[in-house]
């Protein structure tokens, strides 16, 4: 990152190779849109280049990268209303030994996640899927670690409620399928 800060685009290419897939997954889970996720991933790396001088080496690089990703997502959300697409089967890696019932359960969970407010969804995505520790999430969002813990557990409760509502209400489920 030190080289990128000095405008080295080759070094930026190395960072891209290392982190773009994780960022894509973060944006996909945040937006539900494959094409928007590609655009947002590219945007993050442009911002890394432009804002290189704001990087503090004391901060873990991934925390700083996700802070930029978080800001990029917020900026884009202000401009666009997300056209959340139904996730196509090919857009997810097939887990080993998966069953149809399990696939449906996961698709429902994905929809429930998209029903949460973006800030709640982000806490769950960062902590559960992107592998960030509570301290890192606090650092990138600028909040106390204990606040992160409380919010993550409450967001999980809301996800549980959204998932239960979708599971038992076929009309709601049909409406979600049309979105």
């Amino acid at each position: 990152m030190t080289a990128v800060r000095e405008g080295d685009t080759h070094a930026l290419g190395t960072l891209f190779d290392r982190h773009h897939a994780a960022l894509y997954r973060y944006f996909y889970r945040m937006s539900g849109s494959a094409s928007a996720s590609e655009d947002l991933t590219q945007d993050v790396f442009l911002r890394l280049l432009k804002k290189g001088e704001t990087w503090n080496p004391a901060m873990k690089f991934t925390s700083w990268m996700y802070r930029i990703a978080h800001n990029t997502f917020i900026d884009r959300s202000r401009k666009l209303k997300w056209e959340t697409e139904m996730p196509a089967q090919h857009e997810f890696a097939a887990p080993s030994g998966h069953s149809l019932e399990r696939d449906e359960e996961h698709a429902l969970l994905h929809k429930a996640l998209l029903r949460l407010a973006p800030d709640k969804r982000e806490l769950l995505i960062l902590s559960r899927f992107q592998g960030l520790r509570y301290e890192q999430i606090g650092e990138l969002l600028g909040i106390e670690t204990n606040t992160v813990k409380v919010r993550v557990f409450r967001a999980l409760g809301q996800l549980r409620e959204a998932y239960a509502a979708l599971s038992r209400d076929p009309i709601l489920l049909a409406m979600e399928a049309k979105r």
């Binding site: 494959a34 890696a93 097939a94 993550v152 409760g157």
Partner: protein, 231 residues
């Protein structure tokens, strides 16, 4: 959430992160809601990860607006000519103006296809539907997009848009090269649809770059050439 749950939120969050706690275990024995939350957390770990498409870093290119400006000037000039001389030859002027509008659409579509953002390129492909299918430059641009675009979504949309363009021998050869180079089974199927009447189609069954499920699709197309696309 009851008072006990609220007082244990920090420990419950740590528990999710893998920190064992006898106090939390005892709480989970009696609290159905928290137990369901913890179970859901475990279930989330088994969710399949979204597959990131093949991507490469795209740094911004200097924007090139001169083709748009040129087309706009041409349109303006044609419009002025139309109003100035409509008494003498209105039919010719209208035909000329229509031609200019078509060429402006073509320039806009080509310009969008060259954008850095995948959504903009998808917009360019949608826009290409309003352009005359006999335009070879646009067909070449779509063919280039199908061959080289880093986004699978954009490549699939380009293949779909190319259906209405007449195919030359050169464009067919280009499609064959794509089949040998593109590793996305979905793109391979879309290209096979474009080549469904090509006599060399059986050769694909021995091609190692072709995904096994795509080979099954080739066999289905060979058995019934009318049955194309996803059923």
């Amino acid at each position: 959430m009851n008072t006990e749950c609220s007082s244990l939120e920090l420990q419950l969050a740590d528990y999710l992160a893998g920190v064992p706690s006898a106090e939390v275990d005892a709480h989970l024995d009696v609290c159905e809601q928290c137990r369901a939350s913890v179970a859901l957390w475990s279930n989330m770990a088994a969710m399949p990860a979204p597959v990131a498409p093949r991507m490469r870093l795209q740094l911004p290119k200097p924007r090139n607006y001169w083709p748009l400006a040129l087309a706009a000037s041409a349109l303006l000039a044609a419009g002025l000519g139309f109003y100035g001389g409509r008494a003498s030859a209105p039919a010719n002027d209208i035909a000329s103006l229509r031609k200019e509008v078509r060429s402006l659409r073509e320039v806009v579509a080509l310009s969008l296809l060259d954008q850095q953002s995948a959504s903009e390129r998808l917009r360019g492909i949608r826009y290409s539907a309003s352009v005359d299918a006999s335009d070879p430059e646009l067909a070449e641009a779509l063919s280039h997009t199908l061959r080289a675009d880093p986004s699978v979504d954009v490549r699939l949309a380009a293949a779909d848009a190319l259906r209405r363009f007449p195919q030359s021998t050169k464009s067919r050869e280009s499609m064959w090269q794509i089949l040998n180079a593109d590793d996305s089974p979905l793109v391979q199927i879309a290209v096979i649809d474009l080549l469904s009447e090509d006599p060399r189609l059986p050769q694909l069954l021995n091609n190692s770059n072709i995904h096994p499920s795509v080979k099954e699709y080739v066999q289905a197309v060979l058995a019934n050439p009318q049955k194309r696309g996803f059923q």
